[in-house]
C-alpha cells in the first residue's frame, strides 16, 4: 500500500507540469524581419506555373533548378528529415541565444494536397501582396509543387 501511495504521489508530481499547459497561453509566432541586413533580400516568393515543374517535384527540386540556372544561391545541410536550408542569397541563419534566432522558413498557401496537410495558419502566417501564407508543416524537400500555389522562403525571427 505504501509503495502504491508513493507511486501515486510520484505520478502526480510528474503530471504537475501539465498545469503550465492549462494556464500557459504560450504561442510561438515568428516575428518577421523588418531589419536591414545589408541590403540582402529577406524573402523570396514563387507562384507556380505549370511550366515551372513536373509532376512529383518538390519545392526543393524547384530551388535546385533555380540554383542551376544561376537565379538563386542557397546552402543546405543534411538534416534528419532531409536538406535544411541554412542560407539564401548569402544571408545565413543565426542564433541570438538558445531560445531565439533567425532562420529561413517556408510559407505557402498550399494547405492540403492529396489528403496531406502541408500548412496551417496556427503554425504562423506571413502576408505578401495581400495574400496570407501559412508556415509549412514539412521541410523543403517534402513540399509538393502545385499549380497556382505560392511558396515563399522568408528570413524569420523565432523565439520561445
Amino acid at each position: 500500500m505504501k509503495t502504491f501511495l508513493i507511486a501515486c504521489a510520484m505520478c502526480t508530481a510528474a503530471a504537475c507540469p501539465l498545469l503550465f499547459c492549462a494556464c500557459g497561453g504560450l504561442k510561438i509566432n515568428p516575428d518577421l524581419v523588418e531589419n536591414d541586413f545589408g541590403g540582402a533580400p529577406t524573402s523570396y516568393v514563387y507562384t507556380m506555373d505549370g511550366e515551372d515543374f513536373e509532376e512529383g517535384d518538390t519545392f526543393y527540386d524547384y530551388l535546385l533548378s533555380l540554383r542551376a540556372d544561376g537565379e538563386l544561391q542557397f546552402e543546405t545541410t543534411a538534416g534528419q528529415y532531409g536538406p535544411y536550408i541554412t542560407s539564401v542569397g548569402g544571408l545565413e541563419e543565426k542564433y541570438e541565444s538558445a531560445a531565439s534566432g533567425y532562420s529561413w522558413m517556408i510559407y505557402t498557401d498550399l494547405e492540403e494536397y492529396g489528403g496531406v496537410i502541408y500548412s496551417d495558419a496556427s503554425y504562423g502566417t506571413w502576408e505578401h501582396d495581400g495574400k496570407l501564407l501559412n508556415s509549412a508543416s514539412y521541410g523543403v524537400s517534402a513540399m509538393p509543387l502545385a499549380e497556382g500555389y505560392t511558396y515563399a522562403l522568408v528570413y524569420s525571427r523565432w523565439s520561445y
Binding site: T3, A14, P17, G25, Y118, S137, Y138, A142
Partner: protein, 256 residues
Amino acid sequence: MNGTPRGLHRRKVLSPAKEIAFTALTCAMLIGVQYALYALPGVECVTVLLACTAYVFGARFGFFTGLCFALLRCIVFGFYIQVVILYCIYFPLFGLVFGLAGRLKGTKKLPLSFKVSLNAVCAALCVAALCIAGTGALKIAPVYEGMVYTLLYIAGVFFGIAALTFDCIWIFCRGGEHADRAMKLIFVTSAAALCTICFTLLDDALAPLILGLSERGALAYFYASFAAMLPQTVCTIVTVALLFVPITQTLDKILR
C-alpha cells in the same frame, strides 16, 4: 504485508548518500551521452542508460534521476518550454516504470500478470502497426511514406515475433535460467519500445496545447510525428536488446 507485490522481490537498497551521488553521476552521464551523440539520430543511449540504472537502483532513483536529467539538460540544450514540460513528465515516469520493473531482477520467474500484459501489449502493437502499414492510413508527405511504412512493418513484425518467442519460451522452456533471462529481456525491450511510442504520443498531445495549434494543425503534427517516432522506436528496440544485459550486469557489480 510488506508493501511488495506478490511474486516481486525487494532489492538491495543504496544508502541515501550513495543514492544522491549515483543520481548526480547518472544525470551527468545522461547529459554527456545525449550531448555526445546529438548528431547521431537513432542511437537511443539515454533510453537504455536510464532504463538500466533505474532497473538496478530502484524506482525512487529512476524517478528522481529522470526528473533531474529533464531539468538539468536544459542548461546545455536550452529552456524550450515544450521540451521541458514533455521531458519533466516523460523521463521521471520512464525511470519509475523501469525502477518498478527492476523488482523482477530477484525473481526466478515472471509473474503471470506480467506475462499476460506483455502478450496483450505486443499483440495490440503488432496488429496496429501492420494494419496502419497495410491500409496506408497515415496522411504523410509522399517523401516519407517509404521510410515510415517500412519501419511500421519492421515494428509490427518485431512485436509479433517478441510475443511468439516469449510464449514459446514460457511454454516449452520452463525453469531454465537462460529462458528466464530471455523472457525478462523481451519484457524490458518491449516496455522500452512502448515507452518510446508513448513519448511521441505525449508530445502529440502536449505540443498543440503549448503552441496553440488548431485542430487541423494538431492533426498535421500528429501525422508528421510518425517520421520521428518510428526510427526512434526501432532504434530503441535494437539498442535496448543489445545493451541492456551488459550494462545491468556491470551496474549490479557496482551495487555489490
